[in-house]
Amino acid sequence: MKVKFLWIFLAIALIAVYSSAFTVDETEQAIITQFGKPVGQPIKKPGLYFKIPVIQLATYFPKNLLNWDGEPGQVPTLDKTYIWVDTFALWKIVDPLKFFETVNNLTGAQGRLDDILDAAVRNLITSFPLIETVRETNRNLTSLSMMVDQQKIGGSLGKVTMGRKKITLAMLAQAEPKVEKFGIKLIDVKIKRVNYVESVRKSVYGRMIAERQQIAEKFRSEGKGEAKMIEGDRDRDLKRITSEAYRTAQETKGKADAQMTLIYAQAYNKDPEFYSFVKSLETYERGLDKDSYLLLSTKSDLLKYFEQYEKAAAVK
């Protein structure tokens, strides 16, 4: 009989140990509650722990980084553009006791975070123009339109004074003190998506199309302009080349003519009369042919011997 009691005692002891021991995972933290009321300090380090069985309960909370994903909402910016903003936040439960007392569980926390973060997001988005939410810095944007018109882009968009990062930091700063009382620490708030609402999107598309078409038109007109310029070049070059050639040719010819005249003059000046004699003879030789008739008088020098040879000598 003694042996049997020992067995029973052992079994009870085992059950007691088993139901009083609990482990806390690396990702968890726990609080012990007794009839629903927290007892002692929260357990933040992982490992094996014990509690009083049956009357004490261990409640676990995640210790690691948690994600809050906001419902995308329609928000107007300062420049009255309606956009969809989808934000998310990273948070942790730093004080499980407070967390347990105020929001009780993750679902409860989610609800509180929704209220606080949505408000913070809305506040900050509405207090800045859209460009601040979209852009981070003032770095120069290269764009097709820039080639077309330099000032236009910089002028219409405006300067970025805050930028997305600072805006999200401001959201964080605004929401953080409000969640502290829930034992929650906000690590980061980020804008996941920003998009135009449907109606705005349509007009933006319209604008984008118009902008492109204007650029396309610019290119076409540039093409026409440059083609005309080349046509002009062609005309000018053609005329220049031809006329320059003509001028050079005339100059060359003129110089040659002058040289020729000089050469002839120098030579023929020795005896102009002899020149005309020789040239005349040459001209006769060249200018007269089969179709020419010649009437010769017997008085001429050529035929003066025709009649008689004596008289001719005398005449001379």
């Binding site: 992982p46 690691n64 981070e136 764009s143 968009l157 984008m208 199309i209 060359t252 020729m260």
Partner: protein
């Protein structure tokens, strides 16, 4: 393959036939042992427990993995690939983390079926992920792929609750930050630059959030403008082509004419030069001839004149068609000649 299946069935049958008797034998043996050893049945239960506990004392870690061991939930060690031992389940727990495996997250599209011809899910379904505002407040469609691996198993397992969700959110936020600071043109034409910058920025975010993840690469897919706007973007490209075409056509017309004109000009100039050379040479020749003649003529002017005259006449006279010699005494020769008729006869 049917015959293979049959064979298998046969094998199974033959094994099955041999199986049950063995089990029966075992029970018999156990029953037999009960008599021989006191508390034999307990021994069997203990043995089973020992086997169960023993089997949970080792685990194998794949080549591309590490094992993370927790004792009562608390992290104790990380084990290398191969066979590893731990305390039985309930005390120690091992989680395998594939640290060398490259994971892939797609944004703005999904691969339906990878292969030679990869199929992608319809773009519009995931448009929300890829639709972004650019720095010049235009709308761009930017799909991309994130490749990553787990580089800190401890952080990956314990520091973050929904690793995948946070990873996707952070990646989207980072990509939008990078795209938000660029013009639509940069987004379309400088994808490489965006990928590099997003990679650096995302790694910083991941390190801050302690996800234990290392970005391997961010690969940009084809960035574009929304479908509604695409025709107008194509129009710009077409206009650029058109512009070039017009310029080339004009250049063609230019090239059709100008080189020829240049040749013609050169020809004109060369001809003029030829003329000049010819004229001068002729003049010099004529002059030289004249001067030589003149020098000779000076020696005997009278007789040379006569000779030249008569020589010329000698040359001329045979060439002439008709010659008439008039005597001084006969004055009325002209009426006798019918000039027109002679011309006619000649023809």
């Amino acid at each position: 393959m049917a015959w293979d299946w049959e064979k298998l069935q046969q094998q199974k049958k033959s094994h099955g036939g041999a199986g049950p008797p063995k089990v029966d034998e075992m029970f018999e043996k156990i029953k037999g042992m009960r008599g021989k050893f006191p508390g034999g049945a307990w021994m069997i239960v203990v043995a089973i427990i020992i086997i169960l506990v023993g089997s949970s004392c080792f685990f194998t870690v794949g080549v591309d993995e590490v094992g993370v061991v927790q004792r009562f939930g608390k992290y104790v060690r990380t084990t290398p690939p191969g066979l590893n031992f731990k305390l039985p389940s309930g005390i120690e727990k091992a989680t395998k983390v594939p640290v060398r495996h490259i994971f892939k997250e797609e944004f703005g599209f999904r691969t339906l079926e990878a292969g030679v011809r990869t199929r992608y899910a319809a773009g519009s379904a995931y448009l929300n992920e890829s639709l972004m505002l650019t720095g010049d407040l235009n709308v761009a469609v930017v799909p991309w792929v994130l490749q990553y691996r787990i580089n800190k198993p401890y952080d990956y397992l314990f520091k973050v609750r929904d690793v995948n969700g946070i990873l996707r959110d952070l990646t989207e936020a980072t990509m939008r930050g990078v795209v938000g600071d660029r013009s639509i043109n940069d987004v379309i034409s400088k994808r490489e630059e965006i990928a590099v910058e997003a990679n650096v920025a995302l790694q910083k975010e991941l390190d801050e959030a302690q996800l234990g993840i290392k970005v391997v690469t961010i690969e940009m897919k084809k960035t574009n403008v929304p479908e509604a706007v695409q025709p107008s973007f194509n129009e710009v490209n077409e206009a650029i082509q058109e512009k070039e075409k017009m310029i080339y056509q004009a250049k063609r017309a230019y090239n059709e004419v100008i080189p020829e004109a240049k040749g013609n000009a050169a020809k004109t100039i060369k001809m003029a030069e030829g003329y000049a050379i010819s004229v001068v040479n002729r003049a010099q020749g004529d002059a030289a001839r004249f001067l030589d003649l003149y020098d000779a003529y000076k020696q005997a002017k009278n007789v040379t004149r006569r000779r030249l005259y008569l020589d010329a006449m000698q040359q001329i006279l045979p060439k002439l068609g008709k010659k008439y010699i008039l005597d001084e005494s006969q004055k009325s020769i002209l009426p006798l000649l019918n000039l027109g008729q002679i011309g006619g006869e000649k023809k």
